[in-house]
Symmetry: D2
Subunit: 365 residues, 4 copies
């Protein structure tokens, strides 16, 4: 049972490899009557595409999206939306030296053990390129969410040891930053750090933060499809994610109840939560506050240094990984986190619509 679909009611199914004809996604269950054109989607893809800075792979892909179905006269019709992105700059030969080894930090061994066969060109299906399809689908989800008053925003919070200062948060700066960092000083230091990594043929990890604003309370489906549970599935499904936190995250494990509980106080505008340690999620449902999510990405496993790895012949081989790789994937992953979050939140908002007899009556009576 393969796992290329995500979401229950707003359901996306992705396909495609790094070095095939292209890749794409089918969005089944998109509500009808949404104004939608290729530009809506392209704007998101442009944030993910390679070649935006010297810190990304040199592979040159336009990542142009084509809508093949589900839109008629500029509006979604309720039928499945098929989105296609062609591959154009493939250097398959770059990878032929990799077909007989399992690269450290990659899925090579797993694919071969699972399927008995592996498309070794550029990582095949496990390439980060697959996330372009998620971004295309997520752009639609984000557009719907905006119409419902919900905003999703992600940014780079750290690269290696360089951490943004929350008090220096500048959203506008972030939008024009090559590293999607909202703190100019931190970005400067992160660039220096990355230059050093590149000089040493090495790579860096980092973290992405994501905020969801405007989400009504009660979104999330206990007890297994809770908002935090599905958000974490969504984020861990992105290659290289090794940790996910909600609100205070790991820090909560070290605190006391009296510190961690979010209490209320009266204000001029009515009762307000005095803190948001919970990150906007209690008991797996949104509580009406902003939802705060953090994802930790490991460093790009493909590095130019010589490494020892297992071969298909059962021997250990020392090799340098050539090819075109990002020294850090975090800046390009920002929009992927945003899009997976949007898909998850929209899907749960749709699932919530049948939670009450009141809602059924509102639609049918």
């Amino acid at each position: 049972m393969a796992g290329s679909s995500f979401g229950s009611l707003f359901r996306v199914t992705t396909w495609g490899e790094s070095h095939g004809r292209g890749l794409g996604v089918t969005v089944d269950g998109c509500p009808a009557g949404l104004a939608l054109c290729e530009e809506d989607i392209q704007a998101y893809l442009d944030r993910r595409k390679p070649g935006q800075s010297r810190y990304t792979t040199k592979r040159s892909e336009s990542d142009s999206v084509e809508i093949w179905s589900g839109v008629f006269e500029g509006k979604t019709t309720g039928t499945p939306i098929s989105l296609v992105i062609r591959n154009s700059d493939q250097h398959s030969k770059d990878y032929s030296n990799l077909k007989d080894v399992y690269r450290p930090g990659h899925a090579d061994l797993g694919f071969e053990e699972k399927y008995g066969i592996r498309d070794y060109r550029g990582g095949g299906r496990s390439s980060g390129r697959e996330t372009a399809a998620r971004v295309a689908a997520g752009a639609i989800a984000a557009k719907i969410l905006r119409e419902l008053g919900v905003e999703v925003m992600a940014y780079t919070a750290s690269i290696g040891p360089v951490v943004c200062d929350p008090s220096a948060f500048d959203e506008e700066y972030m939008r024009s930053s090559a590293l999607y960092m909202p703190d100019a000083d931190a970005e400067e230091k992160a660039r220096e750090y990355l230059e050093d990594c590149m000089a040493q043929k090495d790579s860096s990890g980092g973290t992405v933060h994501c905020v969801v604003k405007g989400l009504p309370a009660g979104i999330g489906e206990p007890v297994f499809d809770k908002l935090d549970a599905l958000l974490s599935q969504a984020l861990f499904s992105i290659g290289a994610v090794k940790g996910v936190e909600i609100g205070d995250g790991l820090f909560a494990a070290m605190s006391r109840g009296s510190e961690n509980n979010d209490q209320y106080q009266e204000t001029e505008e009515g009762p307000k939560k005095m803190s948001n340690h919970a990150g906007g999620i209690l008991g797996g449902m949104s509580d009406g506050s902003s939802v705060l999510i953090r994802a930790a990405f490991k460093p790009t496993p493909s590095i130019g240094q010589a490494q020892t790895m297992l071969g298909r012949d059962g021997e250990v081989h020392a090799m340098e990984i050539t090819g075109r790789h990002d020294p850090v994937i975090v800046p390009r992953a920002v929009v992927v986190v945003e899009c997976m979050t949007a898909i998850t939140v929209l899907d749960l908002m749709m699932r919530n619509m049948t939670a009450r007899m009141d809602h059924l009556r509102k639609i049918y009576c």
Copy 2:
């Protein structure tokens, strides 16, 4: 669309509230021919049930499991297994003062906003008591895994600021420890810390570590139902979890590729990985090493101190939460983590069975 089911092929559906007649679970898709009796399951429930130490709630429940279907002459038949646990020690009246407020750190507001109605007795469906059903199902999954050579083991790794020393790991000690800690010194300090919390009518968070040994490579279904993605959904679906990490987890975000990649070396027993920063999962599939998982639990939100909270009347109320609560839930959550991990791993092993034509031929030709 409610979310009370988990797993695709080994599918569990739980039901029940803290203060109803009881709770239970239906396991659909359990393979036929497994020797199974109530004792197999009870042994797991006994590890979760209250009253094992002074650090757990005083609610007295035997948590006796009854098998109502799916087992014939001591073996599973392939039909759904219905497991029932009766509630016996209910003090519903304890909770009547809570029906008009939303407790800090609890799902009260979310439930009311979502459903327009809320069973306020003991948290209703959001009570930790619901996890008894998961443990009952997980005991079956764990038994099957053992027959396939896969072991799942979890333990308390920290309570508040007190962290176990990995070099002092003593599995035997852990099994008899009231706090399920594998380090006697740390446990001693944790007890002192908890006494202090209790004296101050406060509570503590903590972390649980879980290890899966013997899992073959290639388990996990890219690109959305990856092993780490579903494990994190499984763990975040447990109330109070605020963070999940695989392998190096958050630390990976600060490291470099050359540090984080697991390289190989020749040994007398053949090629071996020199480290396990990946925690046994690469590209969303097991890589043949031990799988290492960490979950961070927030402190029990129900504390005896007076707190300010929102009321259904839209006003702020200061109140003390009475009732019977655990000063720390981590020790009782250990077996829940183990069971959710077992269900996830078994389900993905079953899903993996159709991945190759070879496997189809092995069964049908």
Copy 3:
């Protein structure tokens, strides 16, 4: 992957065997705020329970339903509703002579080949008794449908060669008829026919018709989860069903487009369809007319005559099937058809709620 669940949003999962402790169903996704008590459900179960006439099994079961979860202060809470029905009149020993043969017309061989083990007492999981759980869940669905203005009604349309005359349709008569036939003359003849069957230790088949009134247009999810497609799955999942028709059914295959198309005419009350050959379903969606469904049931396979059958020893055996059996199951199947139809229709109405941006805005804006 077992198949004990039906429905996507209003999701029922049944469990239990003919001769275990009991049987039951979990309804996950029932909207909150529905007034519900055991009597609502019992009224439906009473229509299915044995012993209502001399044409049903002599097994004596009260089939009393117990609500174990999901209802608080007389209303559904949105959490899973667990319904339990205990078995009380079990004569397991009656069946021990059947454990080594595969009864003609029964699932015995299939169960043994599939699972390698078989609960032979009363057919185990394949007993018609399993349908009690479906009726319990369907009673809830039917109650919700009524609140939304949708009525589901089924009746016996034929028994063996005896067919009800549509022009003699008398709903009131049907409700008090032991055979659930709406035509007194036909019922008289059917009784005579059944007496003859019983005298010859034989059994009879028959057909059930079902009508859904008040369903809005547009219900059904192309292209695979069409209204007719899921209705037919629902009905074929009832043991003994061998054919399902919508509207003109098989007759449509013999007709011409000019005869089969439903045309419109002006009337005093506005435009009206002049016929309903389509049975209220076009392109897999309701068209606003009454939905007309027919299911054909084979005769009860358990008969008292000697029959030749395969044994587990690979030999042919001649045997009489003893035990307590219905000479015709159709009258008791009427309420099962009604309930499976109600579950299917409600689930698709819930699925339809997210079809349009308009609906999302109605709930969230």
Copy 4:
């Protein structure tokens, strides 16, 4: 919640409209290691494509399939297989006169009521053209089944009142027959009947029979995902199907148990069933005999005669439907029935693989 996916483990998701850029299907879960090329699929599509005889639409489409992903060096890799078929001969203008009326026998009204918007060009998503995607996916399923020793074969059993004589069954003749009828005399009469229909600007219905040979016993998942239940969903999901029967079908309702039960006799080759009234399915599982399925198709609703229909203005309109239509769709539907059957059967065979501990041990121990 849209319904464009079918199957659980071998999961197909179709997309595309009659008059968009094209249509396609993603097959997720196809086992790895299957030799597959475009010709394997094209051979099936050629049996469905228009223009094969004077009894099919004059729309000229090559229906050339392109494999965009999931195949590497001639073998399936276990990753999703994306198949694309471009539309080439679109006459969208033909349909502009239909945008303000709801054609009799079509889904027009349902689509508009459901989604508030309708792609009226050629029926949009409800066009029979959508079935090309199913055939492409089904060709893969059929190839896998053949490797496992299972054959699926369908044919035209009747057109209007003209019924094939089972005793004249000639498979070779059928394969070259424009109408896919296995009886030359019946085909001759059917041609005459169709000429008469065409002369009167009318259309005809018909039936398709389908046989599955070589299926092992025990395939099908009680109690809802039975083999017959999912086959009937699969067939009713094909536009124009109004009835489905298994084995004796409707006739079983008129017979007695002693006639309908399939008894055994000793033969020289061992015990044999003396009849197959059950059509190879008992209790929702295959019984080792051939599976016999029948589907009844209504006549093509688009006919050249003037008809009265409802308009979007709420008035009744008299209109002739122009455009390019088949006078009978049954011959082109034969391969669609075959392919939907293949997908259903393969998916259930894959689901059956986890039914027993024995099977798990065979793969993992």
